[in-house]
């Protein structure tokens, strides 16, 4: 096991508000690392720091270092960084285009023009996202015709089509029904063979079900980080204990 992402003493500020305090966290390669915690604990902010999406806010400020494969992410062109670190959002957000074009979008951004290459990669991504069988006969229909769960898997296919190393998932099932949720969870388990996955969720049962490691955030601090087995059977910190037993948050 090797560390894919390393946060060293990371603090995040928006204006004068400090959102994250001295986070030290190592994310294992080809594993699912879940970040749990109550609303406003900074888990999403941390996730969006990893692909520099927070940079879009003018009052965002970062202290400390974040390393991707031992390379400081602020030494990488953000456009290239985001191709290596894909993201899936809370609500399914396919583009108003056909299913095919959605998945092909990232490839075309990279300047890939060859039709066959694009077709191959779209098929591979849709297959990996478990969607190929459901949509192969209607690739040209509008992505909005898909159900919510299918849309989210389409967004996952769109993210993995460009072959990222890391997949950030920001509460990817919070807008889905239980059946669609379990499909996405199965997908996450299948994807960890090839990708490093960081999963933010406020459904701690989801973290329990699919993750290998769990980090518990509270009020901008990393309270505890351990294997998921340990966090859910024998957490060391009193606050983690109270959170996973549902006594607050």
């Amino acid at each position: 096991m090797a560390l894919k992402i390393e946060a060293r003493d990371v603090s995040v500020f928006f204006g004068n508000n400090q959102i994250l305090h001295n986070i030290n966290l190592g994310i294992e390669e080809r594993a699912v690392t879940a970040i749990i915690g109550p609303s406003g604990c900074g888990k999403t902010t941390f996730l969006r720091t990893l692909n520099r999406l927070n940079d879009l806010s003018s009052d965002f400020r970062l202290q400390g270092d974040i390393l991707l494969s031992n390379e400081n992410i602020y030494g990488i062109d953000p456009i290239l960084l985001r191709r290596r670190v894909g993201m899936v959002f809370q609500k399914p957000n396919p583009f108003p285009m056909s299913i095919f074009d959605n998945v092909a979008y990232g490839l075309r951004l990279q300047g890939i023009k060859d039709k066959e290459t694009i077709q191959d990669k779209v098929k591979t991504a849709l297959t990996a996202a478990g969607l190929w069988q459901e949509v192969s006969n209607r690739l040209n229909s509008n992505a909005f015709d898909l159900s919510g769960g299918q849309q989210q898997r389409l967004c996952i296919a769109r993210a993995i089509a460009v072959d990222p190393e890391v997949l950030l998932m920001d509460e990817p099932t919070s807008a889905l029904d239980p059946a669609a949720t379990s499909k996405v969870e199965e997908l996450i388990l299948a994807l960890k063979k090839n990708y490093t996955i960081v999963l933010v969720t406020h459904n701690m049962y989801q973290a329990a079900r699919v993750s290998d490691f769990t980090a518990f955030f509270l009020n901008g601090y990393l309270v505890e980080f351990d294997t998921t087995d340990t966090i859910f059977t024998n957490p060391k910190d009193e606050r983690t204990q109270r959170y996973v037993t549902g006594k607050f948050g």
Binding site: E186, L189, Y205
Partner: protein, 221 residues
């Protein structure tokens, strides 16, 4: 996810069950064949492996409960497994008792030729195998059969005790040897009793019903 975890636990349990069956055969074989190496393998090989498996299964069950929150049939299965592995571990302990005692017994000539103790062991082993089978196959009929066989073991034990008492009355100096054999039969009786508990867990798993501590009449209803 949950299904994979359950089949992982089931295969661990089945491995443990196999070891315990082996355990019963070997500890008695020490007596029958006067071979202390069988007892040594029970004490030094099987027993530590059984104990380790119990811990491992317990931990896996704990993690499964914590991470997947199983309900209904799945929940009953995990709870049943937690009890069964406890039973199997106790059975292993009784085997170890028998093995340690057997090593002493065989140092001197036997009080009498062994007939009923090997038969008891055979029956206890059969009950164990059937009980575990009934659990894995979720077959309540098979479970009922093995629970009913426990009476055979009880009868054999009574017979053994009666016979040995008559030896002691005739010659009080045989007291020690007789007691050793009585304790051995007691251990075997306990083993078979624990095995029927596994059969009861099959009912709990399949029907969700608790048939423990009911008389035969109540059980029929």
């Amino acid at each position: 996810m949950l299904n994979e975890k359950i089949s992982e636990i089931s295969s661990l349990l089945s491995e443990m069950g196999g070891l315990v069956e082996d355990d019963i055969v070997r500890c008695v074989r020490t007596l029958v064949e006067k071979d202390p190496s069988e007892a040594d393998s029970v004490i030094n090989e099987l027993e530590p492996r059984i104990n380790a498996l119990e811990k491992q299964i317990d931990e896996e069950c704990l993690i499964t409960l914590a991470r997947y929150q199983p309900v209904a049939h799945d929940l009953r299965r995990i709870v049943a497994v937690l009890k069964i592995d406890k039973d199997l571990e106790r059975m292993g302990d009784h085997c170890e008792n028998i093995a340690r005692r057997a090593k002493e017994i065989i140092k001197e000539p036997l009080l009498k030729p062994l007939i009923d103790i090997p038969r008891m062991a055979e029956t206890a082993q059969e009950i164990t195998r059937q009980a575990l089978d009934s659990f894995f196959k979720e077959d309540t009929q098979l479970a009922r059969e093995c629970i009913d066989k426990d009476i055979l073991v009880d009868e054999l034990q009574e017979q053994i005790i009666r016979e040995l008492i008559s030896y002691v009355l005739a010659d009080p100096s045989t007291m020690n040897k007789a007691l050793d054999l009585i304790f051995t039969s007691k251990d075997l009786e306990r083993i078979s009793d624990l095995a029927t508990n596994i059969g009861e867990e099959t009912f709990f798993l399949v029907e969700g019903s608790d048939i423990r501590h009911l008389g035969p009449k109540d059980q029929k209803e």
